[in-house]
């Protein structure tokens, strides 16, 4: 076992897949000799060569489109968005071309688009986004959002091996802050579509994903210490396809549910989860399903503004108390 960061775990997963399967290659901006803006692909150019670690022009639509073309012919491209905010430049290519390829044309499109998402880093409106809701609405795509180093590695490996297109949103706040002991040998793969129980509890459920898992765990500690409440924390890991069974199980167990995400509120993932719970487990609920999310604004730069807009541990604690008391 060795202690590795979330970023190193992701790097290990990518490297192992490139060693395992020569069809895997990386393309993106500054991913080659420079090793990527966050150094995720550091050392790859030297190990795998220019043909498998391709620097592209600043052209997100072309990066994703070219990955699709290569995927049709049996390659396993991993496209990096330098910041996930720029995935919007490839929105057309992903939603119209990639996501529909299998359905409309029986064309395989096994590609991964990955990149750093998320705030709490003073990145301002264009280096902090969480774009999952924009793609949750697109049948044909899969979306994974690892919260732990283990899943950063396990999900990138699963994403590369998946026969359908996968969006892999890695949280840049976690890159170097999260560390975990991971086995040095063995094939660590996290199955896509399976949630993980991050903390067992009995009084209420916090359904969440990505960096918010850690805030939810912090909140659970506070709730236990100050209120004697035992919160359960469900880390979804995959948003599309969603693990409905795991959601249903925690709803039936605690009967009080809140959903936490860093993305803005309106039209967010939480709304979809709440609707599913409403449809399939209404009679199991002792309280309305509540949400903790970012405010409906672009993400501002100043620390005072960003901290105000983004969900904080204290917000989770306060909504959890309201939920428990309902």
């Amino acid at each position: 076992m060795a202690e590795v960061t979330y970023l190193e775990a992701l790097r290990q997963g990518l490297r192992e897949e490139m060693r395992r399967d020569e069809r895997v290659f990386i393309l993106g901006e500054d991913v080659g000799r420079y090793g990527g803006a966050f150094k995720v692909t550091e050392g790859f150019f030297e190990e795998f060569g220019e043909a498998r670690v391709i620097d592209t022009p600043i052209s997100e639509a072309a990066i994703v489109g070219a990955a699709a073309g290569a995927a049709h012919l049996g390659m396993r491209p991993v496209a990096e968005m330098q910041f996930i905010d720029f995935i919007s430049c490839a929105y057309d290519m992903l939603t119209n071309y990639v996501a529909t390829a299998r359905y409309r044309a029986n064309l395989a499109c096994p590609l991964v688009v990955r990149g750093p998402c998320g705030g709490y880093v003073r990145g301002g409106p264009f280096h902090s986004q969480n774009p999952e809701a924009a793609f949750l609405h697109t049948p044909g795509l899969k979306i994974v959002c690892p919260a732990t180093a283990r899943d950063a590695k396990g999900l990138i490996k699963a994403a590369i091996r998946d026969d359908d297109p996968v969006l892999y949103f890695e949280h840049k706040y976690l890159y170097r802050r999260i560390k975990e002991q991971l086995p040095e040998d063995g094939d660590l793969v996290t199955p896509i579509g399976r949630a993980r129980l991050a903390l067992e509890g009995t009084d209420l459920s916090i359904i969440t994903y990505s960096a918010m898992v850690w805030k939810a765990l912090e909140a659970a500690q506070v709730l236990e210490k100050e209120d004697g409440l035992h919160a359960e924390v469900l880390d979804l890991r995959t948003l599309l396809p969603m693990d409905d069974a795991a959601i249903l199980e925690t709803v039936k167990k605690t009967n009080r549910v809140m959903i936490v995400h860093e993305d803005t509120r309106t039209g967010g993932v939480a709304g979809e989860i709440a609707a599913r719970i409403n449809e399939s487990a209404f009679e199991w609920l002792d309280a309305p399903v509540l949400r903790v999310t970012a405010a409906d604004t672009p993400l501002p730069y100043a620390p005072t503004l960003e901290d105000f807009v983004l969900p904080q541990t204290a917000d989770i604690v306060s909504v959890a108390r309201k939920l428990a008391a309902y």
């Binding site: 290659f25 043909a51 498998r52 391709i54 592209t56 022009p57 052209s59 997100e60 639509a61 072309a62 990066i63 994703v64 489109g65 070219a66 990955a67 699709a68 073309g69 290569a70 995927a71 049709h72 012919l73 390659m75 491209p77 057309d92 290519m93 119209n96 071309y97 529909t100 299998r102 359905y103 409309r104 044309a105 029986n106 064309l107 395989a108 049948p139 044909g140 899969k142 026969d163 359908d164 579509g193 396809p241 693990d243 409905d244 069974a245 599913r276 449809e279």
Partner: protein, 354 residues
């Protein structure tokens, strides 16, 4: 060398340009005639209400589609991606008329099982990838196809069509630039047919010729008469040979004309009548027939035989496709992913019985 071989028995005849033989000239004629006749059959079916969606004609552009696709080497695994007016290119690559009819009539048996329209279908084995409606998007995709050829060290070439309208999109620019930077084995055929829907070239771009854009991307530019099938073949073939030799991208502007509206419903009221008449006199099939007979490369009997072959094939195809069923409604839920989701889909139709 993987260039299209002059097959045994195809004797070169003096004066035939572009290294073609008589048999190949007859093939070009056959495909142009097949394209036009298939569209005429489709127009009949459209008027009978049997075509479910719109009908897009390539009347007057058959030489540009057929001549350019003919320049690829199918036996070498070359690939292309068509646009809506490249029915002729698909037929050259081996698409079956009956499949085109099935597509237009939304049959369960169509290549896309009723999911997509008209010529929006592909066949990796035959070497073509179906377009989507978002113009320019096939440039990046074909860049990825030819990038794969390059990465694998395969001597294969890709060809992608864009129109005068598609060249205004961001996707075109990004794909073109990426292909140029990496010197990918890609031929980009820009069909200048004068109109994108109702918008004229002057309102689409400030350059007088599309080929001028080649220079901005650092690629070779060529311009040819798109209604002269032999000129189209020749210019494309040279670009294909260069691409195969590792010399990178060529942008070819083919000057042609769209003699029908954007689709069958469009009455072209915005088109000057004399302009239409002028291009009617420049019909690519009529021109080729004159060229073939005046030069003694084919006789009237051979052309009549080709026409009869086309008619017979289309009779059979229309007969076969017409009776076939539409897809089963519930088949709409299949094939979004390789594996259906582990849990039951959250969506279920509520069936109410009265």
């Amino acid at each position: 060398m993987t260039a299209r071989p002059a097959a045994a028995g195809r004797k070169a005849v003096a004066g035939i340009p572009a290294g073609l033989g008589r048999a190949q000239l007859l093939e070009l004629y056959y495909f142009m005639r097949l394209t036009r006749s298939l569209e005429e059959r489709l127009a009949n079916l459209y008027r009978q209400g049997k075509v479910i969606g719109g009908l897009f004609r390539s009347l007057g552009q058959e030489a540009d589609s057929v001549g350019s696709a003919f320049a690829l080497d199918r036996s070498a695994g070359d690939m292309l991606s068509p646009l809506i007016r490249n029915l002729g290119s698909l037929l050259v690559m081996g698409a079956l008329p009956v499949d085109v009819l099935r597509q237009y009539m939304a049959k369960a048996t169509s290549p896309t099982r009723g999911r997509e329209l008209n010529v929006h279908f592909g066949d990796l084995e035959r070497g073509f990838i179906g377009q989507i409606s978002h113009l320019g998007d096939m440039l990046p995709v074909m860049a990825g196809i030819t990038l794969t050829f390059q990465l694998r060290g395969e001597r294969r070439v890709g060809l992608v069509y864009v129109g005068d309208g598609a060249m205004s999109t961001g996707a075109f620019h990004e794909g073109m630039n990426l292909a140029a930077v990496r010197r990918l084995p890609l031929v980009v055929v820009a069909e200048n047919n004068g109109y994108s829907y109702s918008t004229t070239l002057e309102r689409q771009t400030a350059v007088p010729q599309l080929v001028l854009k080649a220079r901005a991307y650092g690629v070779r530019g060529e311009r040819a008469d798109g209604n002269d099938v032999l000129a189209v073949y020749d210019v494309t073939r040279r670009a294909v040979d260069r691409a195969r030799a590792g010399e990178g991208v060529t942008l070819i502007e083919l000057v042609t004309y769209r003699r029908k509206g954007h689709a069958e419903h469009d009455d072209q009221h915005y088109v000057p009548k004399d302009e239409l008449a002028r291009w009617e006199r420049n019909d690519p099939i009529d021109r080729f027939v004159r060229q073939l007979t005046d030069s003694g490369w084919a006789d009237a009997g051979e052309l009549e035989a080709a026409d009869a072959r086309v008619a017979g094939e289309l009779d059979a195809a229309v007969q076969a496709a017409q009776g076939e069923p539409l897809p089963e409604p519930a088949s709409a839920l299949e094939g979004v992913y390789v594996e259906p989701p582990r849990q039951a889909a959250p969506w279920q139709r509520e069936v109410t019985r009265g």
